[in-house]
Amino acid sequence: MSLDSYLLIGAILFVAGVVCMATKRNGIGVLMGVELVLNGANVNFVAFSKFTPLGLDGQIVSLFVIVLAAAEAAVALAIALNFYNNHLTIDVDRANELKH
């Protein structure tokens, strides 16, 4: 398998994540889009690491990203839960109170 196919999968994951983030009104859905984008990026890191003389740098960065993603998910889910507690919904379009 060549590098391009890895990059293609990464790109598909990335675009899918972005589209998910841009179209979902559900807060959890948006979070899932974010995960997709991050994982798309991870694929690219690992792929570049495999096909270039960078050693294990890419893998380490992607592990780092996974840890970050986990932490981010925990925070974001806590926000989502609180939002729900206050508004009885997790529709991100309804989160517009700071605008006023």
């Binding site: 983030m21 841009a22 948006v30 889009g33 991100v92 379009d93 989160a95 517009n96 700071l98 605008k99």
Partner: protein, 829 residues
């Protein structure tokens, strides 16, 4: 007792006498009599006590001097010498012309008179050194006058110049101290009675008019009056004791300011405050000359000290008198490097003063003249001599005790005293000026006194006239004669002023003689004591004898000196004619005053009815003073007072001296004066009796009506009542021009300076207005613009920030896409 110890005793006693009035002044002013009790006489009693103790100290000092220096022996010798001299002279030509040789029994005298021509004197020196010494038997027998000088306190030292509070004590100082403190004591006591109406919380001043036409009501100022008197006594004594000319100047100004306070004692009266200002300003004119004299002395001699007598420190530099006069007591005139005549300076031991290179030090002669004239200008101001005499009559605005103490007996005498004290520094040119100033003054003042009708003004003009006599006496080389008259005059003039004060107080502050008359019945003590003073000043004697009151002897001495001066220098005849005529005028105006006031019918019944004799506190001093006025000069020029003064006579005054310099004069000596004494005395007595008789004829028995004389001599009378138009002349010469200049300056101020200032102000306002517009439009506009732009930018960004999460993601995605496209388009591989 050793010399130093005597000096110590004298300086301590006189310092106590000098400082006690200052102590009294401090307590009187600061102890708060004005708050506690205006009825308290404590301040006055303190002042009297201070001056009385001061008198005792002065008298003690005088006695110490007499005992310690063995003066009595010298007095005996001098007195006998005088008697012998008079006998020998008058034994030969009693009553006839005194142009006879004065040589019999006096062969030691080198100078001889020749008939009808200017006396020639043995002159061995070249003309420039013409102040040649003569020999005199009395002069040989006379030891050097005992003088004590020293320093109480050194104020400052600038290079070689020392400014000190010092003392210079000789018999002149001692006599002045005793005289001043005694008269001041009498006047203090008199003033306790005279000023008694000030002992009130509500003094009504009938001469001060307020704007609403009412009289001024003010708290009494009894304590204040005595405080001023005490301060004055302190200043006067400081002036007399002063050991250097600078100290004299300091106390000179202090007596000036005391005089100012006391003339302006009723300062609510316009006339009094004007008179005070006038006195002060006129004195400033004279003091300007004094300052010039001081500067000349400083630059030429480098010291202000009169003399240095400290035997323990021979290295101390010589004083002024020692520098100016050599061991023989004469000025030595030589030539300096430029060939101009110059005064050769001396060291303390009489040797020539040499500079570092061994050349003799000298001072240009004209500078000595300038210094002498400058110092004398101060004397002119203080002693109210022509042409600065106009302040003294106006000074009569002060309370009468002040007139007696300050403006007749002591302060005005300070000028004469200084002229006498500074005598060793005066060149014959200066002496001639002094003589002429005195001569003019005594005549002018006497003529004005003849027509004045205000009791005190007559006495004021008489004071000026008598001061003129003293100056004349000094100027014609009669050192002791001038100062003799100073002392006798102080007694009889303070007596007469106090008498006039008694009259004024008795007549409820009426001073016009035209409203008096016949007061002798009402005020016998005042009237009779006044008569003593009048006889004394008129110089009357029992014809053919030497029995007379004090004024006769002193005036005689002056007239005799001036007669001799005239005989030696016929061109200066005025210096004899004026005093002789004035002797008659003096008798006339004084008896006119006495007859006017005390004899005849009452001219104003109201004044007469309310008039009463003064209490004892006032008449007591009158009696004491009248005794002194009568008998203080007993013995005349052989008497104690004269010889006491004569002891301090500067060396070289005794002999006849021919002098050729800027002026050519022959200064008369002792023997020459003595030979003319009889003649002068007769002439003066005849003049005085003539004056008395005329006064008696006109005012005593009414033989001639004064109104008729007035009518027939209306021109002269008007001229005299206007005081020779001096005030008018000064008004035109100085006051009006000063006003004109002042108006001119005001106009310049208003038009030019104010105009420029106003223009500048207007320009500043205009600039400020423009500045404001610039500020408001440009600066504020820019700031506001920045603000509004920022605001509107923020506003426009607000629309972008929707808070819509999905929209943000869209933006991010599209932006990334856009960035990628840009990257790939602009930076292709």
């Amino acid at each position: 007792m050793p010399h130093e110890q005597t000096g110590q005793t004298l300086s301590t006693l006189l310092a106590i006498a000098w400082l006690l009035p200052l102590f009294g002044f401090a307590i009187e002013i600061f102890a708060g009599f004005w708050q506690r009790d205006r009825f308290s006489k404590a301040g006055a009693r303190l002042a009297v006590a201070c001056i009385a103790v001061a008198f005792l100290c002065s008298g003690w000092a005088l006695l110490t001097y007499i005992n310690d220096t063995g003066w009595n022996e010298r007095y005996q010798r001098q007195s006998e010498h005088h008697a012998a001299l008079m006998d020998s002279l008058h034994g030969h030509h009693a009553g006839e012309d005194a142009h006879h040789p004065a040589d019999d029994g006096h062969d030691a005298h080198q100078h001889e008179h020749k008939h009808g021509e200017k006396a020639q004197f043995a002159l061995s020196d070249p003309p420039l050194a013409a102040l040649a010494p003569g020999q005199d038997a009395a002069e040989e027998g006379r030891s050097k006058p005992a003088t004590f000088s020293g320093t109480y306190y050194r104020l400052a030292k600038f290079g070689d110049l020392e400014i000190e509070i010092g003392y210079y004590i000789d018999t002149l100082t001692l006599v002045m101290f005793t005289m001043v403190t005694f008269i001041a004591m009498c006047i203090h006591i008199f003033a306790m009675g005279y000023m008694a109406d000030e002992l009130t919380d509500e003094y009504v001043d009938h001469h001060a008019h307020l704007a609403d036409g009412k009289h001024l009501h003010r708290p009494g100022r009894y304590y204040q009056f005595f405080a001023y008197l005490s301060l004055f006594c302190f200043s006067m004594l400081g002036l007399v004791i002063a050991g250097n000319i600078f100290q004299v100047f300091v106390f000179w100004e202090l007596v000036g300011i005391c005089s100012y306070f006391l003339i302006g004692f009723y300062f609510e009266r316009k006339s009094a405050s004007n008179a005070a200002n006038k006195a002060f300003i006129m004195n400033r004119v004279g003091d300007f000359g004094f300052l010039i004299g001081l500067m000349v002395l400083w630059t030429s001699f480098g010291t202000f000290k009169f003399a240095e007598t400290d035997a323990a420190h021979p290295e101390k530099p010589a004083g002024l008198f020692q520098m100016a006069r050599g061991a023989d007591g004469l000025m030595h005139i030589g030539e300096d490097a430029d060939g101009t005549s110059a005064l050769v300076l001396h060291e303390r031991d009489g040797s020539q003063k040499l500079d570092a290179e061994g050349n003799p030090v000298s001072v240009p002669y004209w500078l000595i003249i300038v210094a002498g004239l400058g110092i004398f200008a101060g004397c002119i101001g203080k002693s109210a001599q022509f042409p600065l005499q106009t302040w003294l009559p106006d000074a009569m605005e002060g309370p009468t005790p002040v007139s007696a103490l300050v403006h007749s007996a002591t302060m005005v005498a300070a000028g004469v005293y200084l002229a006498g004290r500074f005598y060793p520094m005066f060149t014959p040119e200066v002496l001639l000026v002094i003589a002429y100033v005195g001569g003019i003054t005594l005549f002018v003042a006497a003529t004005i006194a003849m027509v004045a009708t205000d009791l005190k003004k007559v006495l004021a003009y008489s004071t000026i006239s008598q001061l003129g006599y003293m100056m004349l006496g000094l100027g014609v080389f009669g050192w002791a004669a001038g100062l003799f008259h100073l002392v006798t005059h102080a007694f009889f003039k303070s007596l007469m002023f106090l008498c006039s004060g008694s009259v004024i107080a008795g007549c409820h502050h009426e001073q016009e003689m035209t409203k008096m008359g016949g007061l002798l019945k009402k005020m016998p003590i005042t009237g009779l004591t006044m008569l003593v003073g009048v006889i004394a000043i008129a110089g009357l004697s029992i014809p053919g004898t030497q029995i007379a009151f004090s004024g006769f002897f002193s005036k005689d001495a002056i007239v005799a000196t001036s007669l001799t001066f005239f005989k030696e220098n016929p061109s200066h005849f005025l210096l004899f004619v004026l005093p002789l005529i004035t002797a008659g005028l003096t008798a006339f105006y004084m008896f006119r005053l006495w007859f006017y006031t005390f004899l005849g019918k009452p001219r104003d019944q109201h004044v007469y009815d309310h008039c009463h004799e003064s209490p004892w506190v006032m008449t007591g001093p009158l009696i004491v003073l009248s005794l002194l006025a009568a008998f203080c000069a007993v013995g005349g020029e052989g008497g104690k007072l004269f010889l006491m003064l004569d002891e301090s006579r500067p060396a070289g005054v005794h002999e006849t001296l021919a002098y050729t310099g800027v002026v050519n004069v022959t200064l008369p000596g002792h023997t020459a004066v003595a030979s003319n004494h009889h003649q002068a005395g007769n002439l003066a007595t005849i003049a005085a009796f003539l004056g008395t008789l005329i006064a008696f004829a006109i005012y005593g028995i009414g033989l001639i009506k004064p109104e008729e004389i007035k009518k027939s001599l209306a021109g002269i009378h008007g001229y005299l009542t206007h005081k020779w138009y001096f005030d008018e002349i000064y008004d035109v010469m100085f006051v009006r021009p000063a006003h004109a200049i002042a108006h001119f300056c005001t106009a310049i101020d208003r038009v030019v300076f104010d105009g420029v200032l106003h223009w500048l102000c207007r320009a500043a306002v205009a600039v400020a207005r423009w500045d404001r517009i610039f500020d408001e439009r440009v600066v504020d506009g820019l700031v506001n613009l920045t603000g509004s732009v920022t605001y509107s930018v923020g506003r426009s960004f607000r629309k972008l920030q929707t808070g819509n999460l999905r929209q943000y993601v869209m933006f991010i995605a599209l932006s990334v896409l856009l960035l990628s496209v840009i990257l790939f388009v602009w930076f292709p591989h």
